[in-house]
């Protein structure tokens, strides 16, 4: 455990001494900020327009504003996570520092978990930025906090899954560009996987649809914590973390 924390701290340090963490945070803050402002503005316009038309149906804050916004975070993170994970192992392999880690009295899984944890913390700090945006809503209304909490749980689970996939892909190459490109492509595939199963109900299509990250995130955005989604993300995470450990091991055999 001590080793995992040591490695995570070292990894996190290098995120924050290089510009990468700041670029990611800035890009995320900007992109989500714009989405947030536009959504809130649209929501208010819609609200006023309806008032003028004399409608008096109850408005659902969460369904109309928060849920799409949580979905937006989920989509943005699909594109930002490859940039978090690309250097995790590729850089160590390129510079030869992997030799230090693999000849130190630490287990391979500790290396993998340390790096995964560091990436999670960076990802978490992106999410914290989005919390500032949501906090603004507190001045205007009293949003339901429980579904938001469920949404953030979903975001963390989804991020953990994507980071473990990215970590694995990073461990297969010594080139960060390759790592980021392949992870990005994998993210895209998992993103569009859902589309396949929308109209096609064949078993394979449903199988592909099951892999859709967004489909499993959607219930969380609605404030729904379902064990099947939690299990999906947790399994997904462990599967790729396990493969990352094996990939590190294979480094010894292939070198």
């Amino acid at each position: 455990m001590r080793n995992i924390l040591t490695l995570a701290t070292k990894e996190l340090r290098s995120f924050f001494v290089s510009p990468i963490a700041y670029i990611l945070i800035a890009v995320f803050a900007l992109v989500f900020g714009i989405f947030f402002a536009v959504s809130v503005e649209n929501f208010i316009r819609f609200f006023l327009a309806r008032g003028q038309m004399g409608g008096n149906m109850p408005m659902d804050h969460h369904e109309m504003l928060l849920r799409p916004l949580l979905g937006t975070i989920s989509t943005i993170s699909l594109f930002l996570i490859p940039m978090i994970t690309m250097r995790l192992f590729a850089e160590e392999k390129r510079s030869g520092t992997i030799e230090l880690l693999l000849t130190s009295p630490i287990h391979d899984y500790e290396i993998v978990l340390g790096k995964w944890l560091a990436a999670m913390v960076l990802y978490g700090s992106l999410l914290v930025i989005s919390l500032f945006d949501f906090a603004i809503l507190l001045f205007m209304s009293t949003p339901e906090w429980k579904p938001i909490l469920a949404g953030y749980l979903g975001l963390l689970l989804q991020g953990g899954a994507m980071i473990s996939l990215g970590a694995f892909l990073s461990s297969t190459t010594r080139n960060q560009i390759v790592a980021v490109a392949v992870t990005f492509f994998a993210s895209l595939s998992l993103w569009v996987a859902e589309a396949v199963s929308v109209f096609n109900t064949a078993a394979w299509a449903r199988g592909v649809g099951y892999l859709s990250i967004l489909a499993h995130f959607e219930p969380f955005a609605r404030g729904l914590i379902q064990s099947k989604d939690v299990i999906f993300f947790v399994t997904f995470t462990f599967f790729w973390l396990f493969l990352t450990v094996r990939s590190l091991e294979s480094l010894r055999w292939r070198a």
Binding site: T6, K10, G96, E99, L100, S104, P105, H107, R252
Partner: protein, 346 residues
């Protein structure tokens, strides 16, 4: 301390290390010598548990690298060919990180880092980013990293590469100093380095051990006899060089006489002896007996460089001519090492 038995390492179809065996006693410094691509780095990587052996057993301090890698890793400090440094870390922070993953107790960490920095003379750059360090400093930070946790065994892959002559001497001194408390294996292709730092040599070529012995013995064994350089003057008339050569060849134990130089009225000869002959007294007696003047006589020992070439070439000349390129390259490197020496002394 280090026990390698029938170690082989294959990458796919390529055999990098082929059935090598050697032992290193505690506290010794062993030089690993061989042309580039001979399997030095591969062997070291197996010793440090970075690579598993394809066949054979490797034990360090009694622990097998395959069965108890953690125990082995705890006892080994390793400096790879390129020092494993994080450019975005400061020297001190980097060493502290290494100390933590090498299981240095928290209470001792500061002290160990301090000591390692002092030993490797990097105290003056302790706060600097590694990215900003010169090659020499990086190499020394790498060395500090290897000995930080006070390992029983130090494995150094070309520890002096990239250093300037002064740093090379300092590093060699440091390594010699470390022997005794640590068992050290270092690889190099700079031959004088082995002669100066190591007690034993393992010469490997094409993945095989071609010679293992102490530096002294190896030189003598391959040498067979000895050679002497004599400078002879002639009071009155100078005889022809051929006459003198014939007389010298008649001295007891002389086997081969070559005229090296003609210097004014004096002649310089290199005389080789038959194995186990006591050449020099006989040579002196012959010269003086003929009424000539002996100006200088000095013993010529084979340098390890010649031994190395003899071993690596003789072994493979008939079978693989392409290999000759490799030792030739190393000769250059050795010569380079030679050149740096006088500069330092001057």
């Amino acid at each position: 301390m280090i026990d390698v038995q029938n170690l082989s390492k294959r990458y796919g179809g390529f055999t990098a290390v082929d059935d090598i065996s050697f032992r290193v006693e505690p506290g010794r410094i062993v030089g690993f010598l061989g042309p580039n691509g001979a399997g030095k780095t591969t062997t070291m990587r197996v010793l440090t548990c970075f690579l598993p052996p394809s066949r054979g057993t490797v034990k360090i301090a009694g622990f097998d690298v395959l069965e108890t890698p953690m125990e082995v890793k705890r006892r080994v400090g390793y400096l790879p060919e390129t020092p494993p440094l994080y450019p975005d870390m400061a020297v001190e922070g980097y060493l502290r990180f290494v100390g933590e993953i090498k299981e240095v107790p928290k209470a001792e960490l500061e002290d160990r880092v301090e000591r390692a920095m002092k030993r490797c003379a990097v105290l003056d750059v302790r706060g600097k980013l590694i990215a900003k360090l010169s090659k020499g400093y990086r190499q020394r930070v790498g060395l500090a990293q290897a000995l930080l946790h006070d390992p029983e065994v130090l494995i150094l892959d070309e520890p002096t590469s990239g250093l300037d002559p002064k740093q090379i001497l300092e590093t060699r001194d440091l390594i010699r100093e470390l022997a005794g408390e640590h068992t050290i294996i270092l690889s190099t292709h700079i031959l004088p380095e082995v002669e100066q730092t190591c007690e034993e040599v393992v010469i490997i070529n094409k993945g095989k051990v071609v010679a293992t012995d102490s530096v002294e013995n190896l030189r003598n064994r391959l040498r067979g006899g000895e050679a002497a350089l004599v400078e002879i003057g002639f009071g009155g008339q100078t005889p022809t060089a051929d006459t003198v050569r014939a007389v010298l060849a008649g001295a007891h134990g002389a086997s081969n006489v070559v005229l090296r130089e003609q210097r004014g009225g004096r002649l310089l000869f290199e005389v080789e002896s038959a194995p186990n002959a006591n050449l020099r007294p006989a040579l002196a007696a012959t010269i003086v007996g003929n009424g000539w003047e002996l100006y200088e006589m000095k013993s010529l020992a084979y340098s390890l460089e010649e031994v190395f070439l003899q071993v690596t070439r003789g072994d493979s000349a008939e079978t693989d001519e392409a290999l000759l390129e490799a030792p030739a390259e190393d000769l250059d490197a050795g010569a380079e090492g030679d050149n740096t020496e006088p500069e330092v002394q001057a």
